[in-house]
């Protein structure tokens, strides 16, 4: 089914960038300000769903050839992987750590292993959201 809606397409082209940027921003700001893996993932996922709704599935799939099931699976692996990872440092399951590091160009930054865990959450949310909506809408 091809949708030919010029206004929607033009608006979405711009808006999607804003939504995706917002999603990434929310993801990173989550540590000390509102945001985080779940909400970031949701915003990213809804941006992708908006793309699918506006253009058709084939077009988007050509430009963005991800299998979202695998994205979700990778997310789960990342989240559980960081949980298990702490065992290798002789710390209890799911222990997170953080610290301040001086990076080139960026200067001193606060880095935390929670970010990896949250990245897992975000990827799972994006993958699952898109998988569910695509499966239902593709059903004959």
């Amino acid at each position: 089914m091809k949708i030919n809606d010029v206004i929607l397409k033009t608006v979405v082209k711009g808006v999607v960038f804003i939504i995706l940027t917002l999603g990434v921003y929310l993801f990173f700001s989550g540590h000390n300000a509102p945001g985080g893996g779940f909400i970031g993932g949701l915003v990213l996922g809804s941006g992708i769903v908006l793309l699918y709704l506006t253009y058709d599935i084939e077009t988007i799939h050509r430009k963005m050839p991800f299998d979202f099931k695998k994205v979700a699976a990778f997310g789960v692996l990342l989240a559980t992987g960081t949980a298990i990872g702490s065992l290798y440092f002789d710390a209890p399951f799911l222990t997170q750590t953080d610290g301040y590091f001086t990076l080139p160009i960026l200067g001193e930054k606060h880095l935390s292993t929670v970010t990896i865990f949250e990245a897992g959450v975000a990827l799972t949310v994006v993958g699952t959201l898109v998988t569910i909506i695509l499966s239902i809408s593709e059903d004959e």
Binding site: L26, G30, H31, N32, A33, P34, G35, G36, G37, F38, I39, L42, V43, G45, S46, V49, L53, K69, A72, A73, G75, V76, A79, T80, A83, F93, L94, Q96, T97, D98, H110, S112, V114, F117, E118, G120, V121, T124, V125, G127, T128, L129, T131, I132, I133, S135, I136, S137, E138, D139
Partner: protein, 803 residues
């Protein structure tokens, strides 16, 4: 030393490797690679023989769940070593045989994976000292047996047989678990050795007899003892190597192992003596009696296995008298029954394994195992005939084969026991040798049937699918190794007795000072005594019965079909299936409204009930914030939207009104300064609205459901109750003081979790376990939706399952 742990783990590791890498292995190599494991394990275990024979035992403990007192304790003594050698030795031969038996087109990786799984589990059973670990491995053998019986799962009979064996052995296993827990309650330890050491402490307790019966139930179901034997003939649907391995040589002997292992604990009880001996003898008789009427060679062997297991079981029962009597010069004689049990167990594995392989060869080369279609194969299959002859005659108890020795010892033991005057043996004890003798006659008859109907008589070429010819060498080597053992053990029985059986006897009678006394010398010729006369009688009567078989076979028709054990089993299973379906249908009526009612009624009952009974509801309006005007406006909008939903005519309207509710909640979050929640609520609301809209194209128009006034009223009442509960809980929660406040964690979140946003520190650190599992659940839900939609069963697919 961790070699004992490696012995248990090696098959599991190999199974994992096969499961992962089978695509990279050439199909005809899989079996050869797998073969390494049992051979290496067998060779490793043989190095222990001299040390164990000198009375050493090996034990190691690995912490597993120390907080629950569950540790992985391996224990290698005489009994474990004997079983381990059997498992790995027969395992090697069976795997070698299966390489030639199974076609390259079969799912070989599944087969060997399950087989290794079984091998590891079985080694785990015999090498564990910890009751819980033993139980886990015990059930794992049932599971792998289930998988192997159902290996040809496209056949209905295979699936039915697998289910039956699983149902019976697992129910026995669960009762055994309860017995183990009772033992733990009584003794305070899960270690078998410690329980044996403290036996005087527990044998007086009231739970002792129930524990005994429950443990025996586990052993009897596993070892196919009457009346639980019905699963074993059905398990013959498995490929023949599996039948030879699991259902004659190893798994069914786990029950024997358990009885032998627990003899020091329970052996002194009269109920143990009579149950084990009695059930064993009934099984011995019933199995041999039923074997005669079978027409399938494998079914004959199945019933014969049942009967031989009964023989071993009854011998262990007879041997337990020695535990009751305690150690003295005279009582040592009674331990010979247990010795005969172990000896016959080894012998049975050799000749029965060979016989199963023989049947497999016949089936493989001729395409049938029905004795009505077989006959006259002697000249076509001379090697197979040799295997059948030696195996059967050993089973029948004829010299010069090992079965003769153990059968004579069996007769000696049943005669000996009648001399005792305990356990009311003086009056009823005389039945024991009679039953044993009659069962041996039947055993002799079916052994003649196996050889006679298959290899003698006339060839029936028109009933056979293939031209008879001899099997490939690879299939003949394993049974030939076994039958050479059959003959070798006859000539050199005392080597086996000294190195394998003697230390195993030490495990059954740990309180007896000298194991040397427990090992009699085995002689093939022991003069003209009652045992020999019994054997001669068996041969004479057996031959006569075989000659006139067609005349007396009609007695099998006397048992009405309705009262066979199988019919009772089927009707019990059928009844419970129907009953549970009826009960489930009463509440699972596929009506979504009803399901919601269950959920809400449960919610109100639990939550409101809790607050009512604990008197946790206290209202204190003074600490509540002041209500602003725009908050009232929002509430008004929500109330209007909620009530309008009830009168909506189309699904779109419902969803949009529902969206209004959701967005208003998000506004509330903004007002109350919870930006995280507001953001999440907004996005979730948008996505769910989009999801609803996508789904609606598949749904019919919204139609008012016809419902009576009473239903409407009760639904209304439930709705109001739910709303009231939520409101009251929300208001009362401010004053609830039953738990300690946890806000100190959140106030200190930066130091504790390195983040200033407490919502995220909760999600990513304080309650990260929840988050992780939620992520997994979300993923599973997504996959569920995907598979439900994408992998729908095609309606036109024909049902080839139930051929």
């Amino acid at each position: 030393m961790t070699i004992d742990l490696a012995i248990i783990l090696a098959p599991f590791i190999m199974a994992t490797c096969i499961a992962i890498f089978y695509r990279n292995i050439k199909r005809n190599w899989v079996g050869w690679i797998v073969l390494f494991i049992p051979i290496i394990l067998f060779l490793t275990l043989t190095t222990y023989i001299p040390r164990v024979a000198n009375g050493h035992t090996f034990s190691n403990t690995y912490e597993w769940i120390p907080s629950l007192n569950i540790n992985f304790t391996t224990y290698l003594d005489g009994l474990s070593l004997m079983f381990s050698l059997l498992i790995t030795g027969v395992g090697s031969l069976v795997i070698l045989y299966s390489i030639f038996y199974l076609s390259q087109k079969e799912a070989l990786h599944h087969f060997y994976c399950y087989l290794l799984l079984f091998m590891g589990a079985m080694l785990g059973v015999v090498l564990s000292d910890h009751l819980m670990v033993l139980y886990v491995f015990w059930e794992l053998t049932s599971v792998s047996s289930f998988l192997l019986i159902a290996f040809w799962h496209h056949r209905k009979a295979s699936r039915a047989g697998a289910r039956k064996s699983m149902t019976i052995t697992v129910s026995g296993g669960v009762s055994m678990l309860v017995g183990f827990l009772m033992l733990y309650v009584m003794s305070g330890t899960f270690s078998i050795r410690e329980i044996i050491a403290n036996i005087s402490m527990i044998s007086e307790q009231s739970l002792f007899i129930p524990a005994l019966i429950l443990v025996l139930l586990g052993a009897f179901t596993k070892s196919a003892q009457f009346p639980f034997h019905i699963w074993l003939p059905d398990a013959m649907e498995a490929p023949t190597p599996v039948s030879a391995y699991l259902h004659s040589a190893t798994m069914v002997k786990a029950g024997i192992y358990l009885v032998a292992r627990f003899t020091p604990i329970f052996g002194g009880e009269i109920i143990w003596f009579w149950t084990v001996t009695g059930v064993g003898l009934i099984t011995l008789f019933w199995g041999s009696f039923n074997a005669i009427r079978q027409v399938d060679l494998k079914a004959i062997l199945a019933f014969s296995t049942v009967s031989q297991l009964g023989l071993i079981m009854s011998l262990l029962g007879l041997g337990s008298v020695a535990v009751h009597l305690g150690y003295s010069d005279k009582t040592v004689l009674y331990t010979q029954a247990s010795f005969a049990a172990l000896f016959h167990l080894m012998n049975h594995s050799t000749f029965k394994g060979a016989l199963f392989m023989m049947v497999g060869i016949v089936d493989h080369e001729l395409g049938t195992r029905d004795i009505r279609r077989l006959g006259g194969l002697m000249s076509f299959m001379p090697f197979t005939f040799t295997i059948a002859l030696i195996g059967s005659f050993s089973m029948a108890g004829l010299p010069p084969f090992n079965g003769f020795l153990s059968k004579e010892m069996f007769f000696a033991a049943v005669l000996k026991i009648t001399e005792l005057d305990i356990f009311s043996l003086q009056s009823v004890g005389v039945i024991i040798p009679i039953v044993a003798w009659v069962a041996s006659i039947f055993t002799f008859v079916y052994c003649l049937i196996i050889v006679g109907k298959t290899f003698f008589g006339k060839l029936k070429p028109d009933l056979l699918e293939k031209q008879p010819h001899e099997a490939p060498v690879g299939m003949l080597i394993p049974p030939f190794i076994l039958i050479s053992l059959v003959v070798l053990i006859f000539f050199f029985p005392n080597i086996l007795g000294k190195y394998i059986l003697q230390p195993a006897m030490g495990s059954i009678y740990p309180t007896f000072p000298s194991v040397k006394e427990l090992t009699p010398s085995i002689y093939a010729w022991h003069g003209f005594n009652p045992e020999l006369y019994m054997t001669i009688g068996v041969v004479i009567v057996g031959v006569i019965l075989y000659r006139f078989l067609p005349r007396w076979k009609r007695i099998y028709l006397l048992i009405p079909q309705r009262f066979t054990l199988n019919a009772i089993y089927e009707s019990t299973i059928g009844f419970s299936e129907n009953f549970s379906r009826l009960v489930t249908r009463r509440y699972m009526n596929e009506n979504l409204t009803h399901y919601f009612i269950y959920i809400y009624v449960f919610f109100v009952a639990v939550v409101a009930g809790y607050f009512l009974f604990t008197e946790g509801i206290t209202f204190n309006t003074t600490i509540d914030a002041k209500i602003e005007g725009f908050e009232l406006i929002l509430v008004f909008i929500m109330v209007v939207a909620a009530i309008s939903i009830l009168f909506a005519k189309s699904r779109i309207t419902t969803v949009i009104l529902n969206g209004v509710l959701g967005y208003s909640v998000a506004f509330f979050f903004v007002i109350f300064r919870a930006p995280d929640l507001a953001l999440t609520q907004l996005v979730v609301e948008s996505v769910t609205t989009a999801l609803f809209l996508i789904c609606f194209k598949f749904l019919p128009d919204l139609k008012p459901e016809p419902s009576t006034r009473g239903v409407k009223i009760s639904n209304g009442v439930i709705s109001i109750l739910v709303g009231a509960t939520v409101t009251i809980v929300g208001l009362a929660v401010m004053n609830y003081e039953k738990f300690d406040t946890i806000s100190s964690y959140f106030e200190d979140s930066y130091n504790l979790a390195g983040g200033k946003n407490i919502v995220n520190t909760i999600l990513g650190d304080f309650r990260a376990f929840d988050t992780m599992l939620e992520v997994v659940v979300l993923f599973i839900a997504g996959l569920g939706v995907y598979t439900l939609i994408k992998l729908k069963a095609k309606k036109e697919g024909t049902d080839i399952e139930n051929k």
